[in-house]
């Protein structure tokens, strides 16, 4: 059999062999049996060395063409088989039901924490330091340093929890003012959220343990005008809308002048509704210019510095924010209530 016939026969055999191949393993065997070191095409090429110059040239080209053809067809076949295998894998895969009920078990923050964090964020952005303070305080810090005289009704037994060592549970966050003034001096911007205690019977709107957040700002030439501006700016952020504020005289021994601050009702926008008892205003927080005696007790010269202070009822804000009706729910530890506050 001449070389020409051998080439033609080999091409026919390859056609037949290739059509038999179904998977990637056999195609690799096929590649080796044609193109490997001892493969049929390779053997043909080896046989060229016995031919004359002209034949060598003629058949050399033919065999090389055959070799390229075999190589290309094998490569194409490999790709086809890979594609088929992948399709088979994909098509046989299980489709998972993502509509099954999810695992929605998650933890929860106390609502006070949520409101407190929000306020802290606002104040921190305005350059206020956030201070923590004790819950058991001295008479000095809770009253004396705040210009509350010895016989003031606020110091009566019925309002304050007194301890057997002479200390007391702080009745307001203002108890921290003196310590914080002494710690930082002036100028000073600080807020101090904290737990407060009042010795009273509890009902849906009274708790003996509740949270306030107090703030002070002390600098040269802090004025009433600044106080109003600041409260308006801050409360607009808290209520996420432009709130109107109004001040009324209010008496607190540690501020002079002292104010009750009302905000335009965020429910009705000031038109009058059940939340604001028809007045369009909601009494929100006491504030005022820090009393010179309080600055002095805190080691700050009232002739050089002035400042303002304000007290926000964190508990009340949280109740307003979430529509909590019964204040006792907050300290109840009842997870049916508390677990609902599960995101910031």
């Amino acid at each position: 059999m001449g070389i020409k016939e051998s080439i033609s026969e080999l091409r026919q055999k390859f056609d037949a062999d290739l059509s038999e191949v179904r998977d990637s393993e056999s195609i690799e065997k096929l590649r080796v049996s044609y193109l490997g070191k001892k493969g049929s095409v390779t053997e043909l090429l080896k046989g060229l060395k016995d031919l004359s110059g002209a034949e060598k040239k003629e058949f050399g080209q033919t065999i090389n063409t055959l070799k390229r053809e075999v190589d290309e067809r094998i490569t194409a076949h490999v790709e086809r088989i890979r594609q088929e295998e992948e399709d088979r894998l994909v098509n046989s895969a299980e489709q998972y039901d993502v509509t099954l009920p999810m695992d929605t078990d998650c933890g929860s923050y106390h609502p006070i924490t949520l409101v407190q964090r929000e306020l802290e964020e606002i104040f921190a952005s305005m350059g206020f330091t956030i201070e923590d303070y004790r819950e058991v305080v001295t008479d000095y810090n809770c009253f004396e340093a705040l210009n509350i005289p010895k016989h003031h009704p606020a110091r009566d037994m019925q309002d304050t929890y007194y301890l057997d060592n002479g200390q007391l549970l702080k009745t307001h966050t203002s108890a921290a003012q003196n310590t914080i003034m002494k710690k930082y001096g002036a100028p000073l911007r600080a807020i101090f959220p904290g737990r407060c205690f009042r010795n009273e019977s509890t009902d849906a709107s009274h708790e003996n343990t509740f949270f306030q957040m107090e703030g002070i700002m002390i600098d040269k030439d802090i004025s009433i005008s600044n106080l109003i501006y600041f409260m308006k700016t801050m409360l607009s952020k808290v209520f996420k809308q432009d709130v109107q504020v109004r001040l009324r005289p209010g008496f607190f021994p540690f501020v002079e002048p002292g104010f009750e601050l009302d905000i335009s009702c965020h429910i009705c926008g000031g038109k009058g509704c059940s939340t604001c008892h028809g007045s369009g205003w909601i009494e929100l927080c006491p504030c005022g210019m820090i009393h010179p005696n309080v600055l002095r007790a805190g080691g700050i010269d009232p002739d050089e510095y002035t400042g303002f202070a304000f007290g926000l009822g964190l508990t009340r804000l949280a109740m307003m924010r979430y529509g909590i009706k019964d204040i006792r729910d907050l300290n109840s530890g009842n997870l049916k209530v508390l677990s609902q506050f599960n995101h910031e």
Binding site: G107, T113, D132, R189, S223, Y229, F251, P257, G258
Partner: protein, 785 residues
């Protein structure tokens, strides 16, 4: 407190002004107004009329058929009142008019037409009396509109008493009128006073103030021959509108005086009270006040006595023994000033708060006592000209308040307000409020009036309030501050709290709770939790809430107990305060702690306990970037498991513990569940610095892992093994637990990883280190499996 605008109008002419707006302004400048009531607004065409003829109704015992002359004509009227009488003057609501919200129309009553209605005082809203018709005793022309004849139409507003605590001057209409005068720039009229100097030569009253601490001033006057018993209609209406009940002329007049000037007065029956002694008693006794209640008087209560017998509790209430009665025709009038704190404390102790004591406890102006008597006499003699004065006005003035002058300049006002209020406005405002201000060489001087000088106004900042509140806070131009920029960082404590909460809530699905700082004795007892002695609240409302807590865990356990129906698995936590007894300074050693309790009905106790350990470890990693060390420890509390309690350390410092809750407690909660708990001292943690990251170039050379399976003693803990490989070689980079088995013997498999940054390690070199480790292990009885 209720304020009548008619009454205010006696002292300041507010005609032509919108009263509602004024009252609103009062809220913004002086004190909070809670409500406005429009009295007599629904009264229309009610006139003075005379009953000229009465006939009994043929079919009714109660009803009468009246002919009523209302000036314009005689009306037929069917009336059921018991006190009808021919010739009687009544208030008659004519057909077409209205009264108490009811239109008066021609109606058929029991078969007869009625063209109007005769009114009771209650129907007119001027008293609570509905026993019969109001009989008009004043001589008024028939057909006169009732609303013209009497002050029936009025605007009354209620001021929040709390907002008046620091303003003794506002506890009477006159003080309120002064505010309105200042707000409207109108003139305040003086109080009318009878000139008593002609009586100065009469004998005085023997007034002996034996307690000069608690009585500042006592002024008295004796009068007799009081013939009138009933107060004038307008006075009775005002008293009623302001929340009081008319009683008789003398009682009404003292009340009227109090509501007008804020000065409480007391009228003793002269037949029973002669001389006055003001004193405390050395021993407690019983005293019957004029409301008929016997009260225990202790040695701290100031009393008014006559002939050494107590006749009144000073500043609070008179005694039954000296009460004025219907036949009283002479009286001793008291107008005094007592120590505010003493009156408040006595009133609290006795449990009797009166209109008088409420005023005294605000620190009233002692300058008012004689003014009040003179004004009282002016009113009394106008009503009853026959009255005779039988003593000189006797005035014992023991203690005077200091006169206060406050100086300041415009610069001070500008700085405090941040706005520009003119000199003129400052002077006007202070002048209207009675501060008699002067301005000389750019210095203002304000002379604090006596009614503001008892405690209210003492310093410059107080003057700022006076100026700004009248100026109006709504009129302020508002500006931001000029303050230097400075970075503000969160404190370590604040960050630690945040991160801990985030981790527990978000990673471990726990629930944050809030609780109380005291132990709940009942809840603890129910769960077999012992209350450990600690600082106590001395005046708790419930004896169960007395002892302050030393640990957060019992609180958390009680919350687990209350939520056991909530889910099969849950955890609660709180960061709050515990009191660790007293420090050396005698003050409470207060610490901020994290308390955690986990409850599970699906996990094993071991998994839950070690799970809590991992939670604690991740807190340590989160906050301090390194891990806690756990040491098995003895139980220190009765709710801790004696075998499964571990203490937590960071850098050798104790920071907390974890524990399996003691079976005696656990069984009280749920026998099928397991509960573990733990606590961390957040203050201690926050005082410790977080580790910083030390970056090391990763080794380019492969490391060698050697696994060793070891048999260890039954009571041997893993922590006791580590000494065997510590300090063997710096090339030992890591030891990992691959497996542990607790069967017949306790065994563990550890993987030791050796590597070097400089070279590929030789097998024999590593083997020599491993041999050393094995030798070290053998010394503590640990052998290869």
């Amino acid at each position: 407190m209720l304020i009548s605008m008619n009454w205010i109008n006696d002292f300041v002419d507010l005609s032509g002004l919108d009263l509602e707006k004024l009252i609103h302004q009062f809220t913004l400048s002086t004190a909070e107004v809670e409500d406005i009531y429009y009295m007599g607004r629904d009264i229309k065409d009610v006139v003075v009329a005379r009953i000229v003829f009465i006939e009994n109704h043929p079919d009714s015992k109660k009803l009468h058929l009246l002919k009523v002359d209302a000036g314009d004509k005689v009306y037929d009227c069917v009336c059921g009142a018991p006190n009808v009488r021919e010739g009687m003057l009544v208030a008659f609501a004519r057909e077409g008019g209205s009264v108490s919200g009811m239109e008066i129309t021609c109606a058929k009553i029991a078969g007869y037409e009625s063209h109007g209605m005769c009114c009771s005082e209650k129907e007119l809203g001027i008293s609570a009396d509905h026993s019969g018709l109001w009989e008009i005793t004043d001589d008024l022309p028939l057909g006169t509109q009732i609303t013209d004849a009497y002050g029936v139409k009025d605007v009354v507003f209620e001021v929040d008493n709390k907002s008046l605590t620091n303003r003794p001057d506002l506890w009477g209409h006159y003080g309120i009128a002064r505010e309105f005068a200042a707000l409207t720039n109108r003139e305040l009229k003086p109080v009318s006073r009878m000139d008593l100097t002609p009586y100065a030569s009469l004998p005085g009253i023997d007034i002996d103030i034996r307690d000069k601490e608690l009585c500042y001033r006592y002024t008295g006057l004796k009068v007799r021959n009081i013939t009138k018993k009933v107060s004038p209609v307008d006075m009775r209406i005002r008293l009623f509108y302001c929340g009081m009940r008319a009683i008789n002329l003398l009682a009404d007049l003292t009340n009227y005086l109090m509501l007008e000037l804020g000065q409480p007065m007391h009228a003793f029956d002269c037949a029973k009270v002669d001389s006055i002694q003001v004193q405390r008693f050395s021993a407690p006794f019983e005293f019957e006040t004029l409301d008929g209640t016997k009260r225990r008087i202790d040695e701290n209560t100031l009393m008014i006595c006559s002939k050494e017998e107590p006749v009144a509790i000073a500043g609070i209430m008179g005694g039954l023994n000296s009460e004025i009665e219907d036949n009283t025709d002479s009286l001793l009038l008291e107008s005094a000033n007592f120590d505010a704190v003493s009156v408040r404390k006595s009133s609290t102790r006795i449990g009797l708060r009166t209109d008088a004591s409420m005023r005294y406890e605000k620190t009233l102006d002692p300058e008012m006592t004689d003014v009040a008597i003179e004004h009282f006499m002016q009113l009394l003699t106008e009503i009853d000209p026959s009255v005779e004065i039988i003593s000189s006005m006797t005035d014992v003035y023991v203690r005077h308040y200091d006169k206060i002058d406050i100086t300041f300049d415009k610069k001070f006002v500008d700085r405090y307000t941040g706005i520009d209020i003119s000199d003129e406005q400052i002077l006007n405002t202070l002048s209207a409020l009675g501060f008699a201000p002067t301005l000389e060489n750019e210095v203002f001087t304000a002379h604090v009036p006596s009614w503001r000088a008892t405690k209210d106004v003492t310093i410059k900042a107080d003057i700022i309030e006076e100026i700004t509140r009248v100026y109006g806070y709504d009129n302020f131009k508002i500006t931001t501050t000029k303050a230097a920029l400075a970075p503000v960082m969160r404190t370590a404590g604040n960050n630690d709290d945040r991160w801990t909460k985030d981790l527990l809530v978000q990673r471990y699905g726990m629930h944050e709770v809030h609780s109380y700082i005291w132990c709940d004795a009942k809840k603890y007892k129910d769960l077999n939790i012992e209350i450990e002695d600690n600082v106590r609240v001395i005046n708790a409302m419930t004896p169960d809430h007395t002892v302050l807590r030393r640990s957060m865990v019992p609180t958390m356990i009680t919350y687990v107990n209350e939520n056991k129906a909530y889910a099969n698995d849950f955890g609660v936590f709180e960061i709050a305060r515990v009191i660790n007894g007293l420090g050396e300074d005698g003050l409470c050693d207060e610490q901020k702690h994290l308390g955690i309790a986990l409850y599970s009905r699906t996990k094993s106790e071991k998994d839950l306990y070690l799970g809590l350990r991992d939670i604690m470890a991740s807190i340590s990693k989160e906050l301090k970037h390194r891990y806690f060390e756990f040491r098995i420890a003895e139980a220190k509390h009765n709710w801790q498991h004696p075998r499964n309690t571990a203490e937590i350390y960071l850098d050798g410092t104790y920071v907390g513990f974890i524990t399996v809750v003691h079976p005696s407690v656990q069984s009280k909660i749920d026998k099928k569940a397991v509960i573990v708990a733990g606590e961390l001292n957040m203050d201690t943690l926050s005082s410790m610095a977080a580790s910083v990251i030390h970056y090391e170039e990763p080794s380019k050379f492969p490391g060698i892992d050697i696994d060793l399976s070891l048999v260890i003693g039954a009571d041997q803990t893993y922590s006791t093994l580590s000494a065997a490989w510590q300090n063997v070689t710096p090339l030992l980079k890591n030891v990992a637990l691959i497996d542990s088995y607790n069967g017949v013997v306790k065994s563990i498999t550890l993987r030791f990883t050796f590597s070097s940054n400089e070279k590929t390690l030789a097998k024999n070199e590593v083997q020599s280190y491993v041999d050393t480790i094995i030798e070290n292990l053998a010394k503590i009885g640990v052998v290869l499996r």
